[in-house]
């Protein structure tokens, strides 16, 4: 099979409120109409975009509701779309269920001028280090995090290294002086 051109992007079903087809999105919408802002199904993966103020509620619901049982937070990572984009940042939550073996991606969009996102450490304790890493590298601040410190970079590091406007080799020329 020939690789596709970037112009003919993946067949994407973009579903707005009220027409979600994924059972997870349907259940979320039934529980609270404000929880789902967009559902994307592509490449066999479901992405549900959730307003950031609801993220902890959505995660707690998906963890405890029988039939979903997303009791395992596989991964949490940030993404910077670029300084000129708005909203600029994404936080991706990859959920997994150890009993049902299914996965879903929850996405939160964050603006540059207000990078606060509620922490999900109360839902899964494993979120602790993931959120610290995202804070360290992107500057996304997780509210109610028990210990929000830099984790990979030194405490006195200036800037957020994985932001697109952070140069690969840092700001200043390397010098031993």
């Amino acid at each position: 099979m020939e690789p596709q051109n970037p112009q003919t992007s993946q067949p994407e079903k973009e579903l707005h409120s009220g027409t979600a087809s994924s059972p997870i999105a349907v259940a979320l919408q039934r529980e609270n109409g404000a929880w789902v802002s967009k559902v994307v199904e592509a490449l066999g993966e479901t992405t549900i975009i959730v307003p950031r103020e609801h993220i902890a509620g959505v995660c707690a619901f998906l963890k405890t509701t029988s039939g979903f049982e997303f009791n395992f937070l596989s991964d949490l990572c940030g993404f910077d779309r670029g300084p000129e984009e708005a909203p600029r940042f994404e936080v991706n939550y990859h959920l997994f269920s150890t009993t049902k073996s299914h996965r879903v991606r929850i996405k939160v969009l964050v603006n540059e001028d207000d990078t606060h996102v509620p922490s999900v450490t109360g839902v899964w304790r494993t979120a602790n280090w993931h959120e610290r890493e995202t804070y360290d590298l992107f500057g996304v601040i997780f509210d109610n995090h028990p210990d929000l410190r830099r984790i990979l970079l030194p405490d006195d590091w200036q800037g957020y290294a994985l932001r697109k406007d952070f140069p690969l080799r840092g700001y200043e020329p390397y010098s031993l002086e």
């Binding site: 020939e2 690789p3 992007s9 150890t98 290294a161």
Partner: protein, 406 residues
């Protein structure tokens, strides 16, 4: 205490209670049992641990940033350097994520060789764990026996890929090249010898009373806590949860292989030890099944704009030459989209998140390293333990700092 206190003057009585004084010590980053450069801040009451705070980042080299500045195919060599004890697993997760974005089908022979070499790598990774874990606890001999066996696997991986620690054997769309002539015979030879070696390990250490005393009941984490802390791989299966990504979300054709998921219910260092020992036997089973299935065929997908052409074709066909030039000079465009590709590495769930916005370079590559997540549960596992136990607990979660710090 069974020690007779009859002849001991009262001021020398054995005190076995909290001192109510606390001392903070820094363990590492150069401590030999921290497997690289991990620093632990330990708050101690006498010899008991009150609080453990891992301090990581000493090996941080900005690999995830580097991916964004390199073409997709150049990212493969970066992955080798993350979990350097299981580089083929890293290669596999990364190339499979990109293949999923490109929607490329991989030929069966390439899939089988991927499974075969990855399982050999898993055994090699577990052998390093076994040697160093036993060494940390004080059994020096095992190290030499484990590394003797690992050397055989390293030679096999070297024969296939040309590299020992950094093989970069898998390519987006298949393999770098087919396995060399005689490879199957050498693997067969290894498979014939390996069960005896495992028996030897068991004789050396499993029945050792000191080893049992050092590991049983140490580093307890219940199944519920383990899931909450995101533990995966042998560390989770040591808490009795039969979760294996090869079974839960099969990839590379793992659904066609017959193997068991070893679990132990004791939730301690000893249980995690037994799980890994049994896993080596399961990997041995998978390798022999893969070997039996190996049929001649292509090891590269039929995707001329992504996969480099054969050397001969490049010299004789104009279009192959053009494709070769374009792939090397400009790379290939990957359609916009995002994927999360989880695999079962030797340490647990290795997930690769790739987001593409089109073009020859990824917009974001993130590695969910199992060591990173497993280490975050260390403070929970080491509550109330003794200082000497922390060495056993670190060994039992089998961390590689290259993957933690990235």
């Amino acid at each position: 205490m069974s020690v007779s206190t009859a002849n001991i003057p009262p001021q020398f009585e054995i005190v076995d209670q909290p001192l109510d004084t606390q001392m903070t010590i820094s363990m590492g980053p150069q401590h030999p049992s921290t497997h690289g450069v991990l620093r632990l801040e330990l708050v101690l009451d006498g010899e008991s641990i009150v609080k453990t705070t891992p301090d990581i980042g000493y090996l941080h080299t900005g690999m995830e940033k580097l991916f964004e500045y390199r073409k997709y195919q150049q990212g493969i060599v970066i992955t080798d350097r993350m979990d350097y004890l299981n580089p083929l697993g890293n290669n596999l997760a990364y190339v499979m994520a990109v293949e999923k974005l490109l929607q490329i089908e991989i030929p069966e022979r390439a899939q089988i060789i991927r499974v075969l070499t990855c399982e050999l790598q898993r055994i090699a990774s577990h052998l390093v764990w076994l040697g160093t874990h036993a060494l940390d606890i004080g059994a020096m001999t095992v190290f030499f026996y484990a590394f003797r066996e690992r050397e055989k696997i390293m030679n096999l991986i070297e024969a296939a890929s040309g590299g020992r620690l950094t093989p970069s054997y898998f390519r987006i769309g298949g393999l770098m090249m087919d396995i060399p002539a005689g490879f199957e015979r050498r693997v067969k030879q290894f498979l014939d010898d390996f069960p005896k070696a495992v028996e030897e390990f068991h004789t050396l250490i499993t029945g050792n009373r000191i080893f049992q005393k050092r590991t049983q009941g140490v580093g307890y984490i219940s199944a519920e806590d383990a899931i909450d802390w995101g533990l995966s791989g042998p560390s989770l299966r040591g808490s009795g949860v039969a979760l294996d990504i090869r079974r839960a979300n099969p990839y590379c054709g793992y659904e066609n292989y017959d193997f068991e998921i070893p679990t132990e219910a004791d939730c301690d260092v000893w249980a995690r030890y037994l799980v890994r020992m049994r896993e080596m036997i399961e990997s041995h089973k998978i390798v022999s099944q893969a070997l039996a299935r190996l049929k001649p065929g292509s090891v590269k997908a039929d995707a001329p704009k992504v996969v480099l052409p054969d050397r001969e074709a490049m010299k004789t066909h104009m279009d192959a030459l053009i494709h070769h030039f374009l792939i090397v000079a400009e790379g290939f465009d990957v359609p916009a989209g995002e994927v999360y590709m989880p695999i079962e590495s030797s340490k647990g769930e290795l997930g690769v998140y790739v987001q593409s916005t089109g073009g020859p370079k990824p917009a974001r590559v993130h590695f969910r390293g199992p060591s990173f997540v497993n280490l975050s549960a260390l403070p929970h596992m080491s509550r109330g333990a003794m200082v000497a136990d922390i060495v056993a607990i670190i060994g039992s979660i089998d961390i590689v700092l290259g993957e933690i710090d990235r």
